[in-house]
Symmetry: C2
Subunit: 462 residues, 2 copies
Amino acid sequence: MKAKLGLLKEEDMSLATDLYQLTMMACYIKDKKNNTATFDMFVRKLPETRNYLVAAGLEQVVAFLQNTRFNEDDIMYLRSQGFFDEEFLDYLKDWKFSGDVYAVPEGTVVFNNEPLLRITAPRAEAQLVESYILSMINYQTAVASKASRIVEAAEGKPIIDFALRRCHGPGAAHLEARAAYIGGCAGTSNVAAGKEFGIPVKGTMAHALVMSYNDETESFKAFTDTFKNTKLPLVLLIDTYDTLEGAKNAVKIAKELEKEGKKLAGVRLDSGDLTELSKKVRQIFDDAGLNYVNVFASNDLNEYKIQQMLKDGAQINAFGVGTEMGVSKDAPALSGVYKLAEDIDEKGNLIPKIKLSEGKITYPGKKQIYRITENGKFSKDILALESEVIEGEPLLIKIMDKGKMTYELPSLEQIRNRTLEQVGKLPSEYKSLQNTNYNVEISNGLQKLTNKLIEDYKRGKK
Amino acid sequence: MKAKLGLLKEEDMSLATDLYQLTMMACYIKDKKNNTATFDMFVRKLPETRNYLVAAGLEQVVAFLQNTRFNEDDIMYLRSQGFFDEEFLDYLKDWKFSGDVYAVPEGTVVFNNEPLLRITAPRAEAQLVESYILSMINYQTAVASKASRIVEAAEGKPIIDFALRRCHGPGAAHLEARAAYIGGCAGTSNVAAGKEFGIPVKGTMAHALVMSYNDETESFKAFTDTFKNTKLPLVLLIDTYDTLEGAKNAVKIAKELEKEGKKLAGVRLDSGDLTELSKKVRQIFDDAGLNYVNVFASNDLNEYKIQQMLKDGAQINAFGVGTEMGVSKDAPALSGVYKLAEDIDEKGNLIPKIKLSEGKITYPGKKQIYRITENGKFSKDILALESEVIEGEPLLIKIMDKGKMTYELPSLEQIRNRTLEQVGKLPSEYKSLQNTNYNVEISNGLQKLTNKLIEDYKRGKK
């Protein structure tokens, strides 16, 4: 048997959906019910440890909507299941997304119940794309949001993404590096992501290098000899055997480099009491007149640990963060959903729709988010019907019209800047690590419509 | 700007590594230190809520090792960073994995400190592949292990993987469906994964379908009309408005289907008190003489909820499980590591290696896991040096020799069967949801060697 790589390929994107999307589509096509419907993608409730989300993943959704098709191979596979008739398979052969998309730009701060994305499209098209979109936006938004908390906790000290090895496969890691950068990280260790997205790539050395030489100093020397004439910042990992001994060995290396007019950029600590060790290591370098040598720290870090370390006076200049950010460990799944908000009847009338399942009620109709800013800070959002006149900045922007782009995609750098600007406008209580709920008001118009639909349903049942 | 899909492509696999792997490699190549080294991939400590792991991901690692290369584009990107000299970039142009691989077969139950994989290769090769391998095995093993707990809790009732939308992107979902099937799931909703890996694809309908028709009965009728002459098992989602009303509407549909000699396969509950609702729904169907109609349940399920529901007498025939399994929610990152275990010196002597960083000590040397079975049940494992003679079944098998396959990859079905067989041999306490530690003994030979290396290091320091 030939070993399978297990990487999802572009030509298989169309099938990266739940089977029920295809069966529902077949039902709509057969019933000539492929008229226009509007779906919202939103997060009902923020995780307890998130006061805000940073929207991310839109660019990949756009690429998916532009490019997904069913090829012969897909059709053959579907036929082989024995679920679908030829009329439906023919429909799939010509499948192309032709809908309208509204979304909040990536890097926008968003809250519970606010649509990150709204799709108005022939029902069967809107249905197919649900699963892929949710998976893409749920994950990138989860990581960008977690990264933003970590970046804020570090008070301006750079955070480097080290998550690849703990991400949910190399495909997840690819997206993770992008989302972490959107959240405000300064770079990634993931070279493939660096290449694809233009993220600065960063790295030091691992214990394996130190252990591959006869002693620590020999390994440090070998490493700095290899890179001292290149652009790589020279960073030595000093905790393989004994951190303080390692620091002293690094001092020797730094002094030798100085003789050649070169500089040791820093050292990395990866175990033990990072706060205490960082102070002692700082002292060792300062005593040697090497105050330019930076101290980096890593080892299962998160926003709480970083905040505490800085409070305790840790002498750390930058942090490497992996696992906790890469899997958004305290909230590893964002529960974004994609729900029917508006339908159209036989006569062409728009019909707002509501879901009433226990604990899962949705807001009906085409909606817009309006953000109110006071004295340069966000004070509240109003979730309203698009048809209402509300003051404030509308956050949902038209991205695609009948399947064609109407929006200039920003660069990753611009997205990252938007995050930093948006988070900068959040009042400090939402940036703290305490749980605080931002005020998302429901407009009068939206609340009235919601109440009316609930009443209508109750009356209908009697 | 052209929108990027963000899917990791086969041609970029070689760069799906941490930058420090490449810098360390450059150091080894420059220093002519590219001699043979042995690395173990293992999990130091199982998550608190895991009594055992189910190894998964080896096939994808094999495919990666067989196929990863550096193309011109990769080399150009690396050159543009200004970190590497041409000698190293030339080395990469010819890069090909030429090492030996030992691994436990997928579907094997494993425990803390046991190598899931061991690589003996030129140091620079073994180093490059670390990050990709860790990400692949950490994730698939995390999901297979979580899935196995859920499958066990369901006491033989099928578990269907519904996780796509909450996975860490569609690439993660692709691997997730495979790993969940290895863990014992009966199928997946993910069509792309079904196609690629041959996993049975399953699905029902969503609330959007019900809401797209004038009323629930009309939607049920439309759906069953579409599929009653196909192989799709007919399952109706009955909780969109009111579950018990929904059940009654489903009874009407089932009766109409009976007139045509067709059968309603089941109904799905997706909200509310699933245990109580399932009993009432079961009663409604039984009262109507429809005891063949199955009740499916979904809604943020996990092994604890399923165990409790069955204990409380829930009348549920199968479960759909998404988020909790797809992100292994209670333990979303498996902390698998990849550590130097043995080196070779200039004279060709094998040198066992140990890492001594605080709380991160490793076991040195080339190792084997021996499993002891008593009365058909696993009683303990012994982690030993490969050179020791130990009774018990050796779990590490040779997979590749000098880069060539020496192992016949099993089918996914065979892997899944192995999991079920292996878990069947676990004493019941390890399959319970209480935390219980399996006995992984360290052999005398391995313990002596470990102690000796620690002593040697301490002496060296004095």
